[in-house]
């Protein structure tokens, strides 16, 4: 089973490398649909961001994709920080970062787990725009990833900037 996961992760790394090589920095926003189908086929419900995210986490854990996800919100409700523990894609992020043969890697830019949660917020709560803005920390020793996502409830939320670096 682990060999199969490693195989699929290697495929994703190659795709990410090629995609980045083709599109440079704009490859990041273009991958927002990757991973979304998993939760589209599940019954995800909620009337608030917290309810939807909790519902997503339950299904993601039940599917065996991660051991745990914790989250917090900040930045006037725009920033959604996800902390993912022991994700099956963690080796993919690590391999992408350093390259297959240390030939110069690519900063990880795609998180299928974040994408599937953001997609549910967009479609269930009818948010205006969502975006996995930053894969901040990838700690292979602890088996953790930390992601900073933005969720804009309305157009009026666009431009509400702050200092979110230390959050």
């Amino acid at each position: 089973m682990n060999d199969k996961i490693a195989y699929f992760n290697d495929l994703l790394v190659r795709f990410e490398e090629i995609f980045y090589h083709e599109l440079s920095g704009m490859s990041h926003p273009k991958v927002e649909y990757i991973g979304t189908d998993f939760l589209r086929s599940k019954k995800i419900e909620g009337n608030t961001v917290e309810e939807v995210v909790d519902s997503c986490i339950k299904e993601i854990k039940a599917g065996g994709l991660v051991e745990d996800i914790t989250y917090s919100r900040a930045g006037e409700g725009i920033l959604l920080v996800l902390k993912v523990k022991n994700c099956i894609h963690l080796p993919m992020e690590a391999k992408l970062q350093y390259g297959f043969k240390n030939e110069g890697g690519v900063a990880p830019y795609m998180c299928p787990i974040a994408n599937m949660i953001l997609d549910r917020i967009l479609n269930i709560l009818h948010y205006e725009m969502v975006y996995n803005a930053l894969i901040e920390d990838i700690d292979t020793n602890k088996g953790e990833c930390r992601l900073k996502c933005v969720i804009y409830e309305s157009v009026a939320k666009i431009g509400q900037v702050g200092d979110w670096r230390s959050i």
Partner: protein, 220 residues
Amino acid sequence: MADIIDLISSRRSIRRFKDEPVPDEMIDKVIEAARWAPSGENEQPWRLIVVRNPETKAKIAEIAKLGTGGRVTAEFSLSDYWQKKYAGVKDPEKKARLLRTLYTGQASEFAGNAPVVIVVIGELKDMFDTPYDLSCAIMNMLLEAHSLGLGACWVHGPSVYPSLVKRMKELLKVPTGMGQYKLIATISLGWPAESPKAREKKNFEDIVYWEEFGRKERPK
């Protein structure tokens, strides 16, 4: 054969337009310039949607605002990338104004005020180089517009998020299948209401190598 370097180097990205219509024959000339662009295997994948309806332009502008503003709000708040990029702007008010136009998405919203918006899409099926072909067509259009005294600016912003692209395609009734048409940009077109200075360009010696990567001396 005329040397067009002066035309190329005097072109600016124009984002403010006079409230005056662009004659049809000029729009046709701009499109004709696209028609003559090079394309892989001469496939000519470009298709152009000319939009003059104010409601449609306003919706395009809103999607563009979301694309740029949504991204830059996050980047501005999570890193010092944009502060560094504008570090050379000494006047703090000007710097703040420039940054605000970016994170509010205003920088990409001008399609709503342009007399004409040309939406550039390209066929994907049986094509080989669609994005690059479309970029060549766009450059031809920008130069032709400039040569006619018109102003133009192309925006890729609304075309980077698949969810926003889908909204744009639905708005313009473009087939939404990922294997059908690529929406690469909008070009706003009109009579210039501003005369921006030239942006700083990298020096010749900073961008060219001779014979191999990294070799800066021109061989004798």
